[in-house]
Symmetry: C2
Subunit: 672 residues, 2 copies
């Protein structure tokens, strides 16, 4: 039996794809970047899913099943030694390469961990770099750490080679602990590697000055770390240890979880039903999301993010990651750990990754699934009788966590008992820092520890939501609430306010407008709510987070056009999954991103449309963000709006939880 079309490729399937690709080539080196599921065309999937949802449970409609396809991304390196970047699609069953492209040199393939290792090696081999490090007279017991980074936006006029840059730090190894925090000791130089030559071709010297200093002049002494301070976070290195008075909170589910997972991909929970998959670029993806047998979404993913830094001094303008497009969020996913990343009864999902030889291996526990209690769901007390009915808000969480060098993001899709869907991002990890001279402060960031300047930056995310509100033909509008001047005809007492609805008829970008309470609705105009007469809908209020601050026309701005609006509506097209376009690494200009999609000016009324939401965080660091920052939590809420005929959580039982106890009954005398 074929796997479900949305199921992540297995190790065996991945190996078939690899072998098919390798069989195409002789006398050349093939370095694999990725092999992952090429999702079936939507038209085929619509037919398949229609059958699936009308069939008996467990009887999948094999006859209509789309082919299993693998997307393969790899370099072909012939005698010229200059790699060519290829993308191909392999049909797993027929073992055929059914599509094949050699990508224009204009674009750069996304990076892989093996390229990062090359940079570290190149630094070791570079005499110029080694001598530059020697100049810095590292204190005894300190060792160099090179942190590979994408090169960022290529300067206009620069030769479009494939580069990587290394941020350099020193690690205090006197304690013999490989997890000693080296970010506390930033070194003022950045080696740049030509990835094809695998050689360091330039060393950028970094300014370490403060307000009033020149942008490029060297102001630091050789012993650049003497004013830096240890900033450990691993518990065994904390000078005063960890606090001892935090008693455990346990989350137990004695009757087991309320969810059911079958086929390692199908999740059923509290009337919700959806599939989870995982890919190297987006991480976890939800597919075919239904509630109580009614379709809500075809697909939900985090599509892209960019993190531009605001330090004016070259080469910091090239500090701008696109963490989904540059290296792949899925590739950076943490292998999650029981009792650490979430509590209660946990179901983990694994992924498959490939090495440069294409050999697949399991990437365990990259996604976790669990239920959680989020406080009161709804309550009403009848004050006449004293009867209180109170229910809990239960959530099902699909979570994955990525590490990008110094930084961490926790992504979660949460479905709840009231029909809500929440996308949550938590930003944590270690802020990116550079060296600053003793006693100086800077307009480019905040001095968070001795010698350590945490640079101002932004995090701007894009989620992609492919709705299917009671079917694939949907429309969008936004609704605002407006003051109406007091007048005898329509507003005699001045208390009336007007709701204005604006349909979005063509693909386009839109902004948040909280002063007008602008709410966007994804509607199915073919189906009306039986009470209100309104089309069934899901709604969301785009948070009015700050947009990209980089100057219009700058490279940072041009390569992140998706940040120009909070909301984009586009017409569905195959393979349009990425808000900043397919190729972001070293880009100078966003191409094929959501701005280009919107520019087609497609009609999107009663069409298969896609909704993109852009939100962000302007992060001017606090001292409290050091050495590891407390999570900044961001949430995006999608809520039913006249989709149901009543509160869908009205039948959640108001059962009294039997495990709760009075503090008086469990506390020792000194506590109460």
């Amino acid at each position: 039996m074929r796997p479900h079309p949305f199921k992540t490729l297995s190790v065996d399937e991945t190996r078939v794809a690899r072998d098919v690709i390798l069989s195409q080539y002789q006398d050349v080196v093939v370095d694999f970047r990725e092999i992952f599921l090429q999702e079936p065309e939507k038209e085929l999937m619509k037919q398949y899913l229609e059958l699936e949802h009308s069939s008996q449970p467990g009887r999948s409609p094999q006859s209509k099943q789309p082919p299993r396809l693998a997307k393969c991304q790899y370099d072909v390196i012939g005698s010229s030694r200059i790699p060519e970047y290829h993308e191909a699609i392999v049909d797993i069953e027929s073992k055929r390469r059914v599509k094949h492209d050699i990508i224009s040199k204009e674009y750069h393939a996304s990076l892989t961990l093996w390229e990062f290792e090359t940079l570290v090696q190149a630094c070791k081999e570079s005499e110029e770099f080694q001598s530059a490090i020697k100049e810095l007279e590292l204190p005894e017991g300190f060792e160099l750490v090179v942190e590979p980074w994408p090169y960022g936006g290529l300067d206009i006029g620069a030769e479009n080679k494939r580069y990587f840059q290394g941020l350099c730090f020193a690690q205090d190894m006197k304690n013999g602990n490989a997890d000693s925090n080296f970010y506390a000791y930033p070194l003022p130089l950045i080696p740049v590697m030509d990835a094809h030559l695998k050689k360091i071709v330039r060393i950028d010297r970094l300014a370490t000055g403060g307000k009033g200093d020149s942008m490029s002049g060297k102001t630091h002494s050789a012993r650049v770390l003497d004013h830096c301070e240890s900033a450990e976070y691993v518990p065994e290195l904390l000078p005063e240890g960890t606090r001892q008075d935090m008693k455990p909170i346990n989350i137990t589910q004695p009757a087991g979880p309320s969810f059911k997972v079958t086929d390692e991909s199908l999740v059923e929970w509290q009337k919700w039903r959806f599939r989870v998959s995982f890919n190297p670029r987006e991480g976890a993806v939800l597919h075919d999301v239904h509630y109580d047998g009614r379709s809500i979404l075809y697909r939900l993913s985090v599509s892209e993010m960019t993190v531009p830094y605001g330090d004016a001094r070259a080469p910091f303008h090239r500090k701008q990651a696109f963490d989904f497009g540059d290296g792949g969020a899925g590739n950076c996913a943490n292998n999650l750990s029981l009792g650490c990343d979430c509590l209660g009864v946990i179901k983990y999902f694994d992924a498959v990754v490939v090495g440069s030889d294409g050999e697949p291996r399991h990437h365990p526990n990259v996604v976790c699934l669990h239920e959680q209690d989020n406080g009161i769901g709804w309550k009403h007390t009848n004050w006449r009788t004293g009867r209180a009915v109170v229910t809990r808000l239960r959530e099902l969480v699909v979570q994955f966590i990525i590490t990008l060098a110094n930084y961490e993001y926790v992504f979660a899709f949460k479905l709840d008992t009231a029909g809500g869907i929440t996308v949550e991002v938590r930003a944590t990890g270690i802020v990116s820092v550079v060296n600053i001279d003793p006693g100086k402060t800077s307009e480019y960031g905040n001095v968070v520890s001795g010698g350590v300047l945490a640079q101002n930056h932004q995090h701007i995310f894009a989620t992609r939501l492919d709705p299917a509100i009671d079917g694939h033909k949907n429309s969008m509008l936004y609704e605002e609430s407006h003051t109406v001047a007091q007048n005898p005809e329509t507003n005699p007492n001045g208390n009336f306010y007007e709701i204005r609805k604006t349909p979005i008829t063509h693909s386009s970008g839109h902004d948040a407008a909280p002063h007008h309470n602008r709410v966007f609705k994804i509607i199915n105009q073919n189906k009306k709510n039986r009470f209100s007469g309104n089309p069934v809908a899901y709604k969301f209020t785009p948070p009015a987070t700050q947009k990209l601050l980089a100057a219009p026309g700058s490279i940072q701005s041009n390569r992140a056009l998706f940040t120009q609006h909070h909301v984009w509506v586009t017409k569905y097209q195959e393979d349009e999954l990425y808000a900043a376009g397919h190729y972001t690494l070293q880009s100078q200009q966003e191409k094929g991103g959501v701005a280009d999609m919107a520019k087609r000016n497609d009609e999107v009324t009663n069409e298969d449309l896609v909704l993109w939401n852009v939100f962000g965080l302007t992060h001017n660091p606090r001292v409290e963000d050091w050495p590891v920052m407390p999570c900044e939590i961001f949430q995006l809420h999608f809520r039913p709006s006249d989709f149901f005929d009543r509160n869908p959580a009205i039948d959640v039982p108001s059962t009294k939880n039997q495990a709760s106890v009075l503090a008086e009954k469990c506390c020792t005398k000194e506590n109460l």
Copy 2:
């Protein structure tokens, strides 16, 4: 030993105050409204607290202790039968009335439950009202329910008597269940009572039309409930019962809670230390909030809220509650229930309330205190070694819940391990509805069930935060991030952005500006962070929620001037606790509210200042809000900003939780 100055009055203290008041009067009736703690003057408290914090634990500085004072609010009814409203302060120890005011007739005392009961009784006794109800030909088995409401903003020119209005519904008593949801059957008339006469003096007939119908004409048939539908929420009345597949989530704390509560008011938890009190107007209040021995807040409370309705048809412009000023949030607090309103180990606090005879009685479990896990607190994975350090975000929650006729609010103050303070409001309960004719829709709201129009409305809240950032002399500024045009001197690459700081030098109102990432900081300019050189601060980003929509100059708007800005900064003055002023009931104009305080144009640099935050929810109801709405959750975050020298949660242990289990280990075969 005297109780701590912030401790809620005990039953005995309350009785002393009552007796002192009663002893002042002969041959008149004294009807009590409230007796509660008059907090000591701040100057006295500063001295007291300074000693307290420098003394040995448990040795309270009795010598410097301010007097225990009770604020008494009562009506004096003499031979004229017209009540006079009095406010007095009683010194508990000396048993003397130390202050006494007779309040001008211009103002109305806040309402009490016994006045609500009077309205119900007056309806029973009114022949005119009873005959109006008969006209409506209620279906068999239905009984009238009168829901007392404050009268709302008095119309200009109307005689300033004390009125109450009743919203009328019919309850289906055929099932014999007193909790059958009568809001599903709204009746189109509102009786108005003169509170001094205790008589119904007018019956307002309500329009039931839809779009295009006149604002006042009668359009409904006599049998006005025939198209209404049952909308039950108590589990035993749900036609299909409650869902059966939600398995319990238990929160257990086998080693007990991490908090310690002494003297029924002092809470210590994870370096936090503060006092909790409770009063009939504001509900729970936090006092003297410290972290690790450093002062952060002097006082934190929810100060006021207003809920104006947007239905243009008279008398709906008078639907505008001020739920703190009109009747007192504390008075409406729910008596919380173990295992229902929060989970885990719970400490409850009681309050004392008085009846009209002034006799005090316990109001049990009005505040609950518990710890909760809010997911990942901070995490970093060293990708070189694979070592992940992950800690949880632990919160301590002080929660109270109020019921206002149909509606519920859940208020919570949350302190967390990263030094954050969050004010959370959840709006739930039953939306306010009126009857609408069959098949019609309305521009004034949404038809959420047969015959039931849920009117558009807003909820606008004000919190009051009296900061003491490392002392009482604080200042405020706001900080914005701005794009800078690309230019060779300051922004050669276009990536730089500028942080602009604007000090708030005088008492004033300010707005949210998310497009500039406007962040407000409460700073102590006398103390600098040792790394950044910035003054120690707490910061917050005011959410850009929609302000009041009522037309400027309307009564709804004039009586809620506090809604004109998201942020107000005022200079501390005694007894300025209420954002919309002391007297809101039936007001036409806000007096003595935060707008008036700001108007003084006081200098607030390095002064004892107060910060008010206004936020809200424009609530155009969804069908899903019926019959009881799922919580709308709103949060306001205060975070340290260069207050600490590092992440204050860095020493939270990354202990692996031992109670978490793999789904595979606890699931039956059919689940996985």
